[in-house]
Symmetry: C2
Subunit: 343 residues, 2 copies
DNA sequence: CTGTTAGCGCATTCAT
DNA sequence: ATGAATGCGCTAACAG
């Protein structure tokens, strides 16, 4: 291949029109000090000649890419797809583009992704941390250069980076309270590493709900794993060994809750009569499992929108972030049969 | 904000070391004709000074971005997440990066995504088409410029663009044959727009299997919709009205199969005794629904790998694509209880 | 093995 | 309202 016909530049347009490249550049950018007539003409000819702006040259000159980087643990969830749709809407409306990569839940990949974003000179970075990320040294090069970094969902405490996440504490408090109101006295909580703020907060909400309803907190009822399907099966076996047998389970995600439920069912436990269940995330499978799983829904689209808006505002106003820019979004409990006991 | 300390360039490194910028550039690129000593020194100083290469300048000079564009209908599936992981592995190993966007199943968004990719000067484009894409005029600017375009999964016939997809015909043939072997005589097929090659081929495979087993094809048993959950419910009602009642269902995706199953169960149909079910995609919910759904699994990771390899080979060898570069991948049937009848 | 030079395409200052 | 000139930072001849 030859690269096809040569790429045409503003100089080619300028020559054909006998005007200067500067005027072409301005016309294409809809600069106010160019006559309507020349603008129209330039645009017409540009289209005819098949011109496409060279973003490298433009970015080099302007020292900005108008590209926002996004790093997420995994893409395979409705939540993330929604977040991205929300982000793209706001960013595209403001002439920004998005580049996306997934860390696959490992800090190592997250680091290499961040470096790629750095070299590709994103104007801002949005990141939801990998499961095993323990520090954010890899983000320091951004912060040092005043490239805005915004955490969302899986956030990290940093006084120059806003965080956007849902009110995990409140959601967990509400759903635990709901289980208590359904008559549960011994409620298991399945959660993950407490280094992740979201899991720590769900745990805290669970504890507080017990306390407020005069139920003694029992550390033996707390299972910590990675919330995978396999972990759900293991949790079920652990629960079966508990004595007296628990009468409720609040899992920090649906995925784990579902495989746990299925395992318990196979072992003859009646759900929700013997044991009520609640999860978190509103996974599509939550309405497939029987009984349908009570869970917490949070709109990713909205989270994407607010994250993008925060980023755009910052880029346009060029001011420093305040920790106060952090946002906590509301979530909603969705009650389904898995937690409805005939009390 | 001020942009922080000034970005340092190869000239800054060159000055500090009293060598030329060209040598610095070569050293950083690990060019063979630079002494080990200078290389080491340059790299050390570069790190100390916090240098980051300027990809705009480099790309402008080299007229290539080393970025591959990816456009997919939606990101919220395991399949897509796997495809992307496979792509990233191969591309990153070859020093290429990926930029991703989702068309949200609309041709309009797909067009604007493609334009963004064009302006951002991707070196190649990988695309799985939106549901309602009827032509690929928006990809012509790439093809005209000899920017390689590779279709995967939801492909389009074009003599300069290879296609990578699974053998839908064969998979559908096999799964239909399986249903027949389980004793099904009247098998419904739920599918989507026949403009999409993948659905047309699944349909064809279904038909051929019937024919090869001497079962009269009956157009009344074919339901065409958008394969959504809602469509699954509607399909169930349609099936209930069919007389004589069908004894098997092959849905072109799991999602639709599952909601259809649940609706039928509510109406008192025994699965699989009254009606055997098979889907397509190996959705996570396929092992949650009861009975677990027989389906077709195809490894996205592998598809991502081969697509990326094809792209890389093409970019390195700079030769034209041949239609012969198209690839058809194997898939595997996963038999679960939904199709196992005690015959 | 290293240096000199030039130019990629654009946006912008300073003229007019 | 338009033009001329300059440089963003890098890489690739070419020359030693």
């Amino acid at each position: 291949m030859t690269g096809g016909e040569k790429e045409i530049t503003i100089y080619d347009i300028a020559n054909k029109l006998n005007i200067s490249a500067a005027t072409v550049s301005r016309a294409l950018k809809d600069h106010p000090r160019v006559s309507k007539k020349t603008k129209k003409l330039v645009i017409k000819i540009a289209n005819e000649m098949g011109y496409r702006s060279n973003s490298f040259a433009s970015n080099l000159r302007k020292k900005s890419s108008h590209i926002i980087g996004l790093i997420v643990p995994r893409l395979n969830s409705n939540f993330m797809a929604d977040v991205i749709a929300g982000l793209e809407k706001v960013l595209n409306n403001n002439n920004y583009n998005l580049i996306i990569s997934q860390s696959l839940e490992t800090m190592q990949k997250e680091i290499s992704n961040a470096n790629a974003m750095l070299v590709n000179r994103v104007d801002g970075l949005l990141i939801s941390l990998a499961y095993d990320t323990t520090n954010i040294d890899h983000l320091e090069p951004f912060i040092k250069r005043n490239i805005p970094v915004i955490f969302f969902d899986r956030v990290f405490e940093h006084d120059r980076c806003p965080q956007i996440y849902i009110d995990n504490y409140k959601a967990a408090y509400e759903i635990t309270t709901h289980l208590i109101k359904q008559g549960c006295k011994r409620i298991v909580h399945i959660t993950a590493s407490q280094l992740r703020k979201i899991y720590a907060e769900r745990y805290a909400g669970y504890k507080k709900a017990l306390e407020d309803h005069n139920i003694q907190f029992d550390a033996d009822l707390v299972i910590i794993n990675d919330l995978s399907s396999e972990a759900g099966i293991a949790s079920a076996h652990q629960i079966l060994k508990m004595s007296p047998r628990p009468d409720g389970v609040f899992s920090a995600n649906d995925n784990c809750a579902i495989s746990c439920m299925q395992t318990l069912k196979k072992e003859g436990i009646k759900l929700p009569a013997d044991m009520a269940f609640a999860g978190f995330n509103n996974d599509p499978a939550a309405i497939v499992v029987e009984p349908n799983l009570t869970t917490v829904n949070y709109k990713g689209y909205e989270m994407g929108e607010v994250a993008a808006k925060l980023m755009i505002d910052h880029l346009i106003n060029k001011d420093e972030f305040h920790p106060a820019h952090s946002l906590i979004l509301r979530s909603e409990m969705i009650v389904r049969e898995s937690s409805l006991r005939k009390v």
